[in-house]
Symmetry: C2
Subunit: 181 residues, 2 copies
């Protein structure tokens, strides 16, 4: 699968506006974030996080059909704002069976349903890192949106962070970016 | 997570009895197979495959409880036979939604139920490699059993390979091993 590398450093297409440690340890503030489809080395100062674009783990057929009909891709010219949100869930989460995780994710916490309320304005790509070696997070989610949807994005995060699912999040960093170095 | 590296080469704790290309391209026959918990380099001749020990993807709570109550771990002294079976599934499989894959895996193909019929004789550990870079397979399954259960193991594979789930398998290699270099 495609492994994407995100680098926080001195150069890159996205300028860092702020870095917030939502839960657990944060990440060093850097000037820029760059994304790479080929392996890169860790810069002298900053951080490097890798994640794989993979298959969906919880969405059912009806949800996938709805998502595909509404969502838009990354790289839209008007979407000059981005966020990179690395998340690590607890061992208790990963010890749950698939049906237990699915029930918390959607039937209890309405994760997909909440995201749908903000489509197509908020574009999103999930990267899985739990199965990669030496990665400190389980997921890296990259979001892109136009500046006028910044408040919607904040509202979406507030709703997600209030869910039962989020009680299993033990580390979360919120990195906000604007296009242009 | 823990990434395990399997190396086919001239040395190792497990001696290769036979290598069979069940479906798609095979792997070069080597004298031995060794397993490593730290990164290793590809030997001059042979092959190297990596996979991560990860969370279960389909088993529900009842199935997990049953499995845990019956299964035994690797490394039993009497289990001097092993098999390493790398598998790659088709894009059509990975494009399915979670509920569609679960239905084929268990409700239609009875994957967990078939495996349960051979517990605790056949011990098993699954390694996920689809999300790792440059890995040619999606899964590596390692099995251990005593010589007198070799026929049971073959019967289990025959049942699994006859399922609807297996119509999505596009590459499978069956490597049989005995302990002792």
């Amino acid at each position: 699968m495609s492994v994407i590398t995100f680098v926080g450093g001195t150069t890159g297409d996205w300028r860092v506006e702020r870095v917030q440690a939502v839960c657990g340890e944060g990440l060093p503030a850097t000037a820029c974030v760059s994304t790479h489809t080929k392996p890169v080395l860790l810069p002298d100062a900053g951080w490097l996080l890798r994640g794989a674009i993979s298959n969906l783990r919880y969405a059912n057929k009806a949800e996938v059909t709805t998502l595909k009909s509404v969502q838009e891709g990354l790289g839209r010219p008007a979407a000059t704002c981005a966020a990179l949100i690395p998340i690590k869930k607890s061992a208790a989460w990963w010890d749950l069976a698939q049906d237990e995780r699915r029930a918390i994710f959607e039937e209890t916490s309405h994760h997909t349903a909440i995201g749908l309320d903000y489509l197509p304005a908020i574009a999103r790509r999930l990267h899985h890192c739990r199965d990669l070696s030496n990665e400190p997070f389980d997921f890296l989610t990259w979001f892109e949106f136009a500046p006028e949807h910044g408040k919607d994005f904040d509202a979406m995060l507030q709703r997600l962070r209030a869910t039962h699912e989020w009680t299993f999040v033990e580390r979360e960093v919120d990195i906000r970016l604007v296009r242009g170095a």
